[in-house]
Symmetry: none
Subunit: 128 residues, 4 copies
DNA sequence: GTGGTCTAGACCACC
DNA sequence: GTGGTCTAGACCACA
C-alpha cells in the first residue's frame, strides 16, 4: 500500500526524505540499484514527474548516481552517507529542542528528562 | 486561516492535540473561554460534529469544562495541566529517542549530540 | 415547562402517578382544590380527555372528590392517603428487589448493602 | 423488536445502560461477541452512529473491546464487571432510598418495610 | 464483512 | 447565542 503524505509539504520533498532515511539507516545499501522512476512513482502512487524530481535532487546531493541505461544506484560514498545521517540527526535534534521549549522546558530540564529516560531504558534492558 | 491536517490520523485527535498544546504551553490560560464549537469548526474548516467530539474528549480528560449556555473554558486545575505537560514531554522524548536510534545513534551518541547542540545554542545567545 | 412522559406507558397512568405522589408526599394537602381539567391538561401539555380520564380514576380510588360546580378537591380521608402511600411504597420496594436480583444480589446481600448505605448516610449527617 | 427509549435521556446513554446490565447480569458472558454496530443499530432502531457512540463509550470503560475486523467482545476482566455491578447496585440503592424518603418514610421504616417484604417472599417460596 | 471517521444538517434545552 | 444529541449517508482500512 502507498505511503501517505502530509498535506502542505511538497510531495517530492517527502519522497526525498523517505529515500534518504532508507539510505542512512542501511535499508538501502551502497551500490544497490533503485527501482525505476516509473516503478517508484507507482509504488508511492505519485506522478512520475514527482518521482523524477525527487531522484534528480538526490542525485544532485550525490546520494544517488545514474548509469545511463542500467538505472540509478545508491552512492558508494560512505562519507556522504554519514554526512546525510548527521544532517538528518541535526533536524531531529532541533525539532526536539523546539518542541520541548514549546512545552516550557529549559535546556537543562530537557536534557535532564532525556537522561532519566535513557537510564530507565537501560535498566529495563538489563532485566531482560 | 485553516490549519492543515495530517492524513491518516483522525482529525479529531489532531484537534485535541492542537488544543492541548495551547493549554500546556500557556497560550490558553486557565479559566479562559474557548471559541464555540461552531467557531472552532469554522476556524479549522472542519465539521462542527468533529470539533464537538474533540472538545468532548478534552472535557472528559478534565482539561476543559463546559457551562451550558456560556461556552467552554480551560480548566483551573493547574496540577492536571502540569500532568498533561509531562505526558506530552514524555511522548516527545520517546519519539526523539526512537528516531535517533533509527538513524543508527546509540544512547550515548544521541545524548552527546544533543548536549553539543545546546551548548552551541547558548554560545549564540551570549553573542547577541 | 411540561413534564416529559415515558413512551409505551399510557400517559393517563403517568398522570395518575404524578398526582398521587404529590398527594402522599403532602405537596398537595387534603381538602386542597385541584386545577381544572382544562388547566391540568394545559400544564401537562396533554389532551383534556387524557386529564379527565386520570382525574376520573383518582376519583374512583377516592383520592379526589368533585363538588359539582366548585371543582375537584383532594380527599380528607387520611387513612386512604396512608393506604395509597403504602401502595406506592410497595411498588418501590418490589421494583428495588427485582432490580437488585437482576444484578445478582441475594435477598440477604441486598438487605446488607442497604443497611450499610443507611449507616454511612447517618454518619455523614452527624458530622454536619 | 425495538426497545423503547425514555424521552429526554440521551439514547446512547440508555443503550450503554442496557448493554451494561446485560453484562453484569451475566446475560452476556465475558469473551462473548456482540452484534455488529449495524446490527445493534437495527435491533434498537437507532442510527448506526448512535450505536457506535454507545459501544465506543463501553469500550472506553473497558467493559468491551473491539477487534478490528472481527467485531466487539465482552471483556474478560471479571473484576471490572464486578466493579460495574457494585456501581449499578449503588445507584439502585440510592434511588430507592430517595424515593422512599419522598414518600415520607424514615430510614428505619423503609428498612423495616423491605425486611417484611423479603420475609413474605420467602414464605411464599417455601410453600411452592 | 468489521470497526472507525467524517460531513451535512437538523432539533433540543437553556438563558 | 451556547452545548448536546441524533440521523442519514458516505468513505476508509483491515483481512
Amino acid at each position: 500500500m502507498a505511503e501517505v503524505f502530509h498535506p502542505n509539504i511538497p510531495i517530492y520533498l517527502q519522497l526525498i526524505e523517505s529515500v534518504k532515511r532508507k539510505i542512512v539507516s542501511g535499508e538501502l545499501s551502497p551500490g544497490q540499484r533503485l527501482p525505476s522512476v516509473r516503478d517508484l512513482a507507482q509504488t508511492y502512487e505519485v506522478n512520475p514527474n514527482t518521482a523524477q524530481r525527487a531522484l534528480a535532487e538526490l542525485e544532485r546531493e550525490g546520494l544517488v548516481y545514474s548509469e545511463r541505461t542500467a538505472g540509478r544506484f545508491i552512492t558508494n560514498d560512505g562519507g556522504l552517507i554519514e554526512m546525510t545521517r548527521t544532517e538528518l540527526a541535526k533536524e531531529q535534534i532541533e525539532n526536539f529542542i523546539t518542541e520541548m521549549q514549546r512545552l516550557g522546558f529549559t535546556n537543562e530540564q530537557l536534557l535532564q528528562e532525556l537522561e532519566q529516560k535513557l537510564k530507565k531504558e537501560e535498566r529495563q534492558d538489563e532485566r531482560k
